[in-house]
């Protein structure tokens, strides 16, 4: 299977003197959902910002489908779909105009855009909101807008930052169903989250980030093996790893 995202020995953060993440390495292949888990301030969002090309690593290299941000900044941005933790939108555009502009800027044909947009609106029960402005939405609805914009483009790689908080139960189910469908069609997904039960159920592999470093990564079986806790849940394994560190 092809590797979609390769993060190699990345150290980085907001300033050169103070690295938030240290020597972080992992990869994401086709047809897998990988969870990035960690406490508040563990470095999840910083890692994601590095992947998006918003922060420049102090050391190490990040490539998507073999290309780094530095080598091709214009096309790099077209190679992933990003669902941010706090919704970003234009106050001046309606929901429909957001997704239309997303399709347009990614170079999707108009027919394909219509074909994909309608089922998405239906799935997330946002058809009636079509011509309204995100300013009038609740946080969950804005989150749905972000999700629809990413799913519409059908990129090979998804980067999803804490998608579950603020979504209603039906929204969570829709999101996970669609992500699973994307995965089966060959996409790779990196999902940062706090909700370990959901991660355990839907993710193939787990990366445990603590204080800016990767403490463990692998499938649930592998993590059980590393920690010596057979039959344990992800929750237990995670707490074991994090608490160990405190002592």
């Amino acid at each position: 299977m092809t590797t979609l995202l390769e993060v190699k020995g990345v150290t980085g953060g907001y300033s050169y003197n103070h690295a938030v993440i240290k020597d972080v390495s992992f990869h994401i292949r086709e047809k897998e959902i990988v969870a990035l888990i960690g406490l508040n301030g563990a470095g999840k969002s910083t890692t994601i910002k590095h992947i998006l090309g918003l922060l420049e690593p102090i050391a190490g290299e990040i490539s998507i489908a073999g290309k780094t941000f530095q080598s091709d900044p214009e096309n790099y941005r077209l190679s992933y779909g990003y669902i941010p933790e706090s919704p970003i939108y234009y106050e001046e555009l309606t929901l429909w105009e957001h997704i239309e502009l997303m399709a347009m800027s990614h170079g999707l044909d108009q027919e394909i855009f219509y074909e994909r947009a309608r089922p998405l609106l239906k799935e997330f029960r946002m058809e009636e909101m079509k011509d309204r402005f995100p300013q009038q939405f609740s946080k969950g609805m804005r989150q749905k807008l972000m999700i629809m914009m990413a799913l519409l483009v059908q990129p090979p790689l998804y980067i999803v930052d804490e998608p579950i908080l603020g979504l209603d139960p039906l929204g969570i189910r829709s999101l996970l169903t669609w992500l699973n469908r994307c995965k089966e069609q060959g996409a790779g997904i990196l999902m940062s989250t706090h909700i370990l039960a959901t991660a355990e159920k839907h993710c193939d592999r787990f990366i445990i980030l603590h204080k800016g470093e990767i403490r463990a990564q692998g499938t649930l079986e592998e993590l059980r093996h590393i920690t010596g806790l057979p039959d344990s849940s992800l929750d237990d394994i995670y707490l074991h790893i994090v608490e160990d560190d405190g002592q």
Partner: protein, 379 residues
């Protein structure tokens, strides 16, 4: 706990004045202030000859009464209330009378200055064309200021009404009353006079009695509408920022979004293509934002009017060019507004394309403005 209402008002007023002075300095430093002053100078220079163009059949006193009535009736009330007052001040509502009275006095002081300036501008017409003098001039200055005070007070009272529609109705009533009184006074008692009976002033008196009886009832029946007062206050604060924003970009400014479906329909003319994504974005941003499109159309109307009334081709050309310069600098702030949302931009549109889309929009807008001015100038 007792609250010192006088000190509260003094504090709020102080905060506002400090902000006002800071922004006033900002505006004075900007180049646009000079353009504005220059344009006013140009108009002042030609003012007498423009007045001379008014045809003799024109009912000047009634037209002036209309202008003054608009200024006098429109009484937006600043109360310097804050969002948090909903929580902290509402328990003291009964003791806040003095606070609001001070706010009303402030509003009267500011708005009577506007009335004064309008009266000053209309004065040459009134003395020159109508030929008023003596006692009539005292009336000319006195009645509008009295009406201003009365309108501020009555508007404040009618704001207690829970239904917005009723307030609109009473604003209309205030307008009718103010207009009839002004027209009667400015026409030296000729308005609606049939033989010896001055119907105008009789209607006025009846309206005044009726309005005051309504106000007495409502004062007893309804209490303050806090949410409305807050909405008015934030609206006026926004207007102030918007005004300053004409000269300098205001960081605290929340851009208002209006849906404007009839203008948005124009964007359907743009083709759906990857290379036009930036055009769509900028055009929609421009149309929907209350500020950019609003100011553009206001400048368009104002410049058309100025170019129309200025005599001689040179004055027309200079004024037209100055207005085009103002429009160009307004459109420039659209680009800066876009740039301000730095960090992650949600659509992967290339920088070069954004720049190109912006230049295109600027060209279209300036082009339209220019063509309109040339057409009006030729007329």
């Amino acid at each position: 706990m007792k609250i010192d209402v006088d000190q509260l008002f003094r504090k709020r007023f102080h905060v506002f004045s400090v902000e006002f002075i800071r922004y006033a300095q900002y505006m004075a430093n900007g180049g646009l202030a000079f353009v504005g002053i220059f344009l006013m100078g140009l108009l002042a220079f030609y003012y007498r000859s423009i007045i001379a163009m008014i045809p003799p059949w024109f009912p000047l006193p009634y037209a002036m009464a209309l202008v003054i009535a608009f200024i006098v009736v429109k009484s937006p009330l600043r109360t310097f209330l804050l969002e948090a007052d909903l929580l902290f001040l509402t328990p003291h509502e009964v003791r806040l009378d003095r606070y609001f009275r001070k706010a009303l006095v402030y509003n009267f002081a500011i708005q009577s200055m506007v009335v004064f300036i309008v009266l000053l501008l209309l004065m040459p017409m009134y003395t020159g064309v109508v030929g008023a003098q003596g006692v009539q001039l005292w009336v000319y200055w006195g009645i509008p200021l009295l009406l201003k005070g009365w309108n501020i007070y009555s508007n404040w009272t009618f704001l207690r009404l829970p239904d917005q529609k009723n307030i609109g109705f009473y604003t209309l009533a205030r307008f009718v009353f103010s207009y009839i009184l002004l027209a009667w006074v400015l026409s030296e008692g000729q308005f609606l006079r049939l033989g010896p009976i001055p119907f105008g002033v009789l209607i006025c008196a009846a309206l005044l009695i009726w309005l005051h009886s309504r106000m007495l009832t409502y004062k007893k029946k309804h209490s303050l509408q806090w949410y409305r007062l807050l909405a008015i206050e934030s609206g006026l604060r926004h207007r102030f920022y918007q005004f300053v924003n004409n000269f300098r970009d205001v960081p605290a400014m929340q851009h208002q979004v209006k849906s404007r479906p009839w203008l948005i329909a124009l964007t359907k003319l743009l083709p759906y293509r990857q290379s036009t994504a930036g055009h769509h974005l900028f055009t929609k941003k421009f149309i929907r934002s209350g500020d950019f499109a609003g100011i553009y159309f206001r400048l368009l109307l104002l410049s058309g009017f100025v170019v129309l009334i200025l005599p001689g081709p040179y004055a027309k050309i200079i004024a037209g060019l100055l207005f085009l310069f103002m429009t160009a600098s307004q459109i420039g702030s659209l680009w800066r507004h876009q740039q301000k949302r730095n960090g992650y931009s949600i659509f992967p549109i290339r920088d070069g394309q954004m720049r190109q889309a912006f230049s295109w929009l600027r060209m279209v807008l300036l082009g339209v403005h220019g063509v309109v001015l040339v057409l009006i100038g030729i007329l």
